[in-house]
């Protein structure tokens, strides 16, 4: 029983569309009912929001391409200035019917020119009787452009007096977009996140043909068990699934276990996935490095992330400099006399810890300090006398230190 039905489009196309958008049928049917037939009016602007990889861009593209509705698709991160954005829309509109891309972009500086050129382009492409869709992906970038761009796009139907609908796709909720004096409110549509069942279904679709679907589903189950608490992003999970599958299959390939020996397979893959969480998931090592390491079959402990390589052996004075810097940044200035002088007086027990200092200094972060203080602390903590010539030496070390710290 097909889920998507619409009088304006042939059922075969709709069936094809349905197969391309798993777990998103209700959103697509809502969009279809809002769009109506080709020449009917629709909301002047639609705002679609949802998490990363919840399918907004993909569903929009698939829907417009499968039903062959006239549309323009622009990514606002690519076209980050208003001029690039407006010109891109006009170019795509001009190339709508022709296959080859024309070389000459139409110069378009202001929205005023854009409205005029847009109307001309619609006439030249014979699109006056159908609804034209302008889709702006990553629409949160529109807020960074000139102040009139976002409100003008929301009203494009009114400003051009043509049958056009603007669709904005974004991760961020509409309340963060609204300008101060208000604007034309778009129709807001939410793309819900995929539930764990949906994720399982979609990820299992990518199974390689050599293995059975059940085998792959079991693998996906294990993967989701480890990563679902941390990350629900479909793209990340697909990436991790693709990288780790060969390791999972190793026992079967080496004939140590059958496909159904879930316990053995789990024991094999589990430490691997945990390691993956610390390295590939955090992008500390690249996926090609990861695959190479897997092939080497070395000890798992050898896989180290980028952060592990920050442990360097420093020379003698550099170590003391580092310690002195640490002390200087976390101790308040008034305690220096007490800690670092050999003959210090007693500090009166005044209530010098003010309210905001009660939060541990380690939570507030390191504080800046002058160079003299650093050197003073250094001289007091190093046991033997630091020769003055060492001062110049330490300046060099200091520079090295700064480069190390700022990494």
């Amino acid at each position: 029983m097909p889920i998507l039905e619409h009088p304006a489009y042939p059922p075969a196309t709709l069936l094809c569309l349905e197969s391309l958008v798993p777990c998103r049928e209700s959103q697509v049917s809502m969009l279809l009912s809002i769009f109506g037939e080709r020449q009917q009016l629709s909301f002047p602007s639609i705002f679609i929001y949802g998490h990363t990889s919840s399918g907004k861009t993909y569903v929009m593209k698939t829907l417009l391409n499968t039903l062959q509705l006239p549309h323009v698709f622009v990514n606002c991160v690519e076209c980050f200035t208003s001029r690039l954005l407006l010109e891109e829309i006009l170019i795509q509109l001009q190339n709508h019917s022709s296959e080859t891309r024309r070389a000459s972009p139409v110069p378009c500086d202001t929205f005023n020119d854009f409205v005029r050129l847009f109307k001309q382009a619609l006439v030249s492409q014979n699109l006056q009787d159908q609804t034209v869709y302008v889709v702006l992906d990553r629409a949160e970038q529109l807020r960074e452009m000139e102040a009139n761009i976002l409100p003008a796009f929301l009203r494009l139907q009114e400003l051009t007096d043509r049958n056009v609908t603007v669709i904005l796709l974004s991760e961020i909720v509409w309340e963060m977009f609204r300008p101060n004096t208000g604007c034309f409110e778009p129709f807001i549509l939410y793309f819900p996140d995929y539930s764990i069942g949906h994720l399982q279904k979609i990820l299992s679709q990518n199974h390689p043909p050599e293995y059975s679907a059940d085998f792959y589903s079991a693998y996906i189950n294990i993967l989701l068990g480890v990563f679902y608490m941390v990350c629900r992003d479909l793209k990340e999970l697909q990436h991790l699934a693709a990288l780790n599958f060969s390791k999972y299959c190793e026992p079967v390939v080496r004939k140590e276990a059958k496909e159904r020996d879930t316990r053995k397979l789990w024991k094999n893959i589990e430490p691997h996935l945990k390691k993956a969480m610390q390295t590939v998931y955090l992008r500390e090592i690249s996926s090609s490095q990861w695959e190479r390491l897997q092939c080497e079959e070395g000890e798992l402990g050898q896989i180290k992330g980028l952060s592990a390589h920050a442990h360097v052996e420093l020379p003698y004075y550099s170590k003391f400099l580092l310690i002195a810097a640490y002390l200087a940044s976390y101790n308040p200035v008034r305690t220096d006399k007490r800690f670092f002088l050999k003959h210090h007086g007693k500090i009166k027990k005044t209530n010098f810890m003010k309210k905001h200092e009660k939060t541990s200094n380690h939570l507030l972060g390191p504080k800046p300090f002058p160079l003299d203080r650093l050197l003073a602390i250094l001289y007091s903590i190093v046991d033997n006398r630091v020769a003055p010539t060492a001062n110049i030496f330490s300046q060099h070390l200091y520079k090295d230190l700064l480069t190390l710290i700022s990494q």
């Binding site: 009088p7 629900r232 998931y281 507030l364």
Partner: protein, 427 residues
């Protein structure tokens, strides 16, 4: 009764044009006085040749542009006015400075050839030249010109308010009958005008305040959805209209409308709601039901932040709860990642049985995802000097939203729920 697809298509077409199109050619509700006032004003200009200026002020969606378009349409149909009125439509969103505005005026008056390559000293000279050129075209008397400035409050921000000054000046002094009508949503528009501009303005204001009561609102609902008498399929039109009448008497529908009325009185929101309900009408489902309207209303009033929180992973939810506790303890003072991580560690060590102790970089990645979604925002711009973990931030969700979202969160571990609901006593 079998309904044909053609009939449905016609119904959809008619209602969509009525509800979505910006030129509301249907009835205007509740603004008869303002309509008469504006019509009189424009008639004076076109028939008697008087210059004038007026501002139409009203909140967004109250019908300013619709009113003006309607008045202009009726005016153009009058015998005396036919082809005797030149219109120039400017919009603050499109003409962002005075030079562009002047070029647009030239273009709309079809005077590009006349202006050619002339260079003018000042704005005033250029405008005077344009009006003079109009005069020469029409020998005996000058044709009245109507300037419509939409988003009037944006023109106020141009340099020296040159355009406004010149337009109002001409409307006070020139021989060509010129009327300037501004449309704006700002009630304090007069304070934004410069002194010399303000003095040339006639201070005539027309207010559109959505001033109808709930009974009238229900009547408007009925009229917006009713099919007109000229509809080809008379039998269906009658059935449709009687269904709409039933809906207006239905208690659930009245509740829905009451909710919307309390939230926002303007007709644009009502039109959106009706459009959603109408889009569900198909051959299988030819009449609107109360449940359609209920679905539409739910769709319209979703809390978007709660929806976003619904899609977060368990680790990210824990971070949000940690931030909530920090806000409770420190009474809304800004926090940084290190503090949040500290709280999270306390939870893991003492209470959690099901949460694995994730490494710090993994928690950092989850935190950065929250930053990307703008649920957490830094107080100052991140500079090169300070480390990322110590940058001060604030949470953009309040406690009620968090607790509501947690109720709806699927498969939330019990420890996490209990931690969220716990007070500060165990700290």
């Amino acid at each position: 009764m079998a309904v044909t697809q053609i009939c449905m298509t016609m119904v959809q077409k008619m209602l969509r044009e009525r509800l979505c199109h910006h030129r509301a050619m249907g009835k205007l509700f509740g603004i008869d006085q303002q309509y008469k006032h504006l019509l009189e004003l424009l008639k004076q200009t076109t028939v008697c040749g008087e210059s004038n200026s007026a501002l139409i002020i009203g909140p967004r969606g109250s019908g300013k542009t619709a009113l003006l378009n309607r008045v202009l349409k009726d005016l153009r149909e009058m015998k005396q006015v036919k082809e005797n009125l030149l219109e120039v439509h400017l919009n603050g969103l499109l003409q962002t400075n005075d030079k562009v505005a002047l070029k647009e005026i030239t273009r709309q008056l079809h005077l590009e050839n006349v202006v050619g390559d002339k260079v003018f000293g000042s704005f005033a000279e250029n405008l005077a030249f344009l009006l003079e050129a109009l005069r020469k075209g029409n020998r005996t008397s000058s044709c009245p010109v109507l300037f419509v400035l939409d988003e009037f409050d944006l023109f106020v921000h141009h340099k020296n308010q040159t355009l406004l000054y010149n337009l109002f000046d001409i409307s006070q002094s020139a021989q060509t009958p010129v009327t300037v009508i501004g449309l704006t949503c700002r009630q304090d528009i007069l304070e934004l005008l410069e002194k010399r501009v303000k003095s040339r303005f006639s201070h005539r204001r027309i207010y559109l305040m959505n001033s109808f009561a709930f009974k009238q609102y229900i009547r408007i609902f009925k009229e917006q959805l009713s099919l007109p008498a000229e509809f080809p399929d008379k039998a269906f039109a009658q059935k449709w209209n009687s269904n709409i009448q039933l809906l207006t008497e239905d208690k659930t529908v009245q509740d829905i409308l009451q909710n919307l009325f309390h939230y926002s009185k303007d007709l644009r929101s009502l039109n959106f709601l009706l459009m959603l309900a109408v889009s569900n009408v198909t051959v299988r489902h030819p009449l609107i039901t109360a449940s359609d309207l209920q679905e539409a209303s739910k769709q319209y009033r979703m809390d978007s932040k709660a929806n976003i929180v619904h899609g977060l992973s368990v680790l990210e939810i824990c971070l949000i709860i940690a931030m909530k506790h920090l806000n409770d303890v420190y009474e809304g003072e800004p926090f940084n990642f290190q503090m949040v991580y500290n709280e999270f560690q306390k939870f893991i060590q003492r209470k959690a049985h099901c949460m694995y102790n994730f490494e710090k970089p993994v928690v950092m990645k989850a935190f950065e995802h929250l930053l990307q979604l703008e649920l957490v925002k830094p107080i100052e711009r991140p500079s090169v000097r300070s480390q990322r973990e110590y940058l001060l931030m604030e949470l953009l969700l309040d406690n009620n939203q968090i607790m509501d979202a947690l109720q709806a969160y699927p498969n939330c571990p019990t420890d996490v729920k209990q931690w969220a609901a716990s007070s500060l006593s165990w700290l």
